[in-house]
């Protein structure tokens, strides 16, 4: 093909370079805090991607943090109480979380809409309270301390998790990459289009042959699986799980991260939103005045919502930027960016 499609290739190259930079960040800085922030951001980004996938089908799940809790507690209980090695327990964490999501989805997605949202919020609280009360299993508010993954020896290389955050960082990248590929693929596929049709006009979609319940449950379950993995990994990284780590505030933060990042891009928006809000949260929690973090965080989110152009997030600035760079004056008037995330 003689035509060099620079409009697509240049932005993609830039993304590629950025990703490469991220991957080699630990070469540039050994600051534990910075690396930890990136690890946490990546993990929250996975939860955000799950939320957005469900959102794609037109449903708001206000309790996604509960699936992180389910994954985290499953993994911790398996390793601590049953002596299972980390990696199998990690796998099971995602599977258990997914199964629970499947069961709940089958029961609850029938009603959909606002009832579904309220139920997910209530469910999140039920999980939190359950974790607090079932002292025998979860040690309640004192929490559980999962052991670290064992050192992995890979043909000469030794990956020692106890040595610092760097191994966690690379596994986080691996986890995020896998999740990102899966979600991105789904979003771009016909199934992603099916999801969008359900959100755009449920009745019309159903009459065009789309089984609403089936696809809602699929999205909810997939989100549950990966969110469970994220939770398990997070708890393991922090070496502690307490019930309040994955409560209503966290579910709300996931929602906030999704909007701020932008829901038009399921991967990009999640990464941007999670990183920015998580970092903001960390800095705010350092402030000496108690409560100011809620105040400022809440205010910041409301302001962002008000000032971002309708229905867009930070990720959409990326598209607009390149559009400005490449625009030719006599070019055909391109219509307003379509709001559907379908290609």
């Amino acid at each position: 093909m003689p035509y060099f499609d620079y409009k697509t290739l240049i932005p993609r190259t830039v993304i590629g370079v950025l990703i490469a930079l991220f991957v080699i960040i630990p070469v540039f800085t050994t600051n534990v805090i910075t690396i930890s922030i990136f690890i946490s951001s990546g993990i929250w980004a996975i939860a955000v991607m799950g939320f957005v996938l469900i959102l794609r089908t037109g449903q708001f799940s206000m309790g996604q943090a509960a699936f992180m809790a389910l994954g985290a507690y499953t993994s911790a209980i398996l390793t601590i109480k049953l002596g299972m090695p980390f990696w199998p327990s990690f796998l099971l964490a995602g599977i258990v979380s997914g199964i629970i999501a499947l069961i709940i989805g089958l029961v609850v997605l029938r009603v959909g809409g606002i009832y579904f949202s309220i139920i997910t919020l209530a469910f999140g609280e039920v999980v939190r309270i359950f974790a607090q009360q079932m002292e025998g299993i979860t040690r309640g508010a004192r929490g559980l301390i999962p052991p670290m993954p064992p050192t992995i020896v890979l043909g000469g290389f030794e990956i020692n998790f106890a040595a610092g955050p760097v191994p966690y960082y690379y596994f986080m990248i691996l986890l995020v990459a896998i999740t990102a590929v899966v979600f991105w693929r789904i979003d771009r596929s016909r199934m992603g289009g099916t999801f969008s049709s359900m959100a755009a006009n449920q009745i019309l979609a159903e009459h065009q042959g789309i089984h609403l319940m089936k696809y809602r449950v699929i999205a909810f379950t997939i989100a549950g699986v990966f969110t469970g993995f994220a939770g398990a990994y997070y708890a393991n990284f922090l070496s502690i799980i307490t019930p309040l780590m994955f409560g209503l505030w966290q579910s709300i933060q996931i929602m906030m991260m999704s909007i701020v990042g932008g829901i038009s891009s399921i991967v990009g928006g999640a990464l941007i939103g999670a990183t920015i809000l998580y970092t903001l949260g960390i800095y705010l929690s350092r402030l000496p005045i108690f409560n100011i973090q809620y105040l400022l965080f809440g205010a910041a989110v409301v302001l962002v919502l008000l000032f971002l152009p309708k229905g867009t997030g930070l990720v959409d600035l990326w598209g607009k930027f390149w559009h400005k760079v490449f625009r030719e004056p006599e070019e055909y008037e391109m219509p307003e960016e379509s709001e559907m995330a379908v290609e």
């Binding site: 693929r185 979609a205 789309i210």
Partner: protein
Amino acid sequence: MPLLELNGLTKLFGKLAALEDIDLNVEEGEVLGIVGPNGSGKTTMINIISGYYRPTRGTIFFNGEKISGLRPDQIASRGIVRTFQSNVLFEGATVLESMLIGSFLQYKTKDWQSILESKAYKDDHERVVGRVIELLKTFDIFNDIFLPAAGLSHGYQRMLGIAMALIANPKVLLLDEPTTGMNHEEAMFVVENIKKISEQGVTVLVIEHNMKIVLNIATRIVVLNFGNKIAEGKPEEVINKQEVIEAYLGTETI
């Protein structure tokens, strides 16, 4: 055996009978006009056939299979597809996107194949896009393919609705007042297309207020009034029946 059988179909909303004890057989290949004053139950009948409502009493058989009580998507996948009077669009979508996401039933490959982007899916997708473009050209909306569907004029939105129903591979097409809101040219354009669709073997049920159009395209008509079927038969015969004229006095004239 008739293609579509309605037996004793009744729909009650509380005490209000929107449809009362409707018996109707639809033969394959015919164009059945459904007429009647406002509120006579025409759209309710389509809503029940398409699965949007459950009948309070009565059954519907399609090709010998009982379909009353099935979900809309199950009924659509069996080949009965409808258009809407209002609520016709996918919010935020362009014309092309609307058609593509509405093409669910046109695809032959499965979901997992589309996620993996297998060769089979890519070929299928190309075929579907071709079919979509064909339909959009037929209904004269190809030029607006990248524009938001909500920006189309009302008449063209309805055309998009018909195109969307057609991409779903219907054996039976239920048209809910397809020409309402259109000017004469647009209405005639739709009429021509309905004739073509019928020639291709699709059975058509069309709700219409405009008697001229009904006389033009329908092979048979059924008249509803207050939820009851009051007449059925060849258009020229039915419209002269006393009950029909009385039902319509004051609304539509020939």
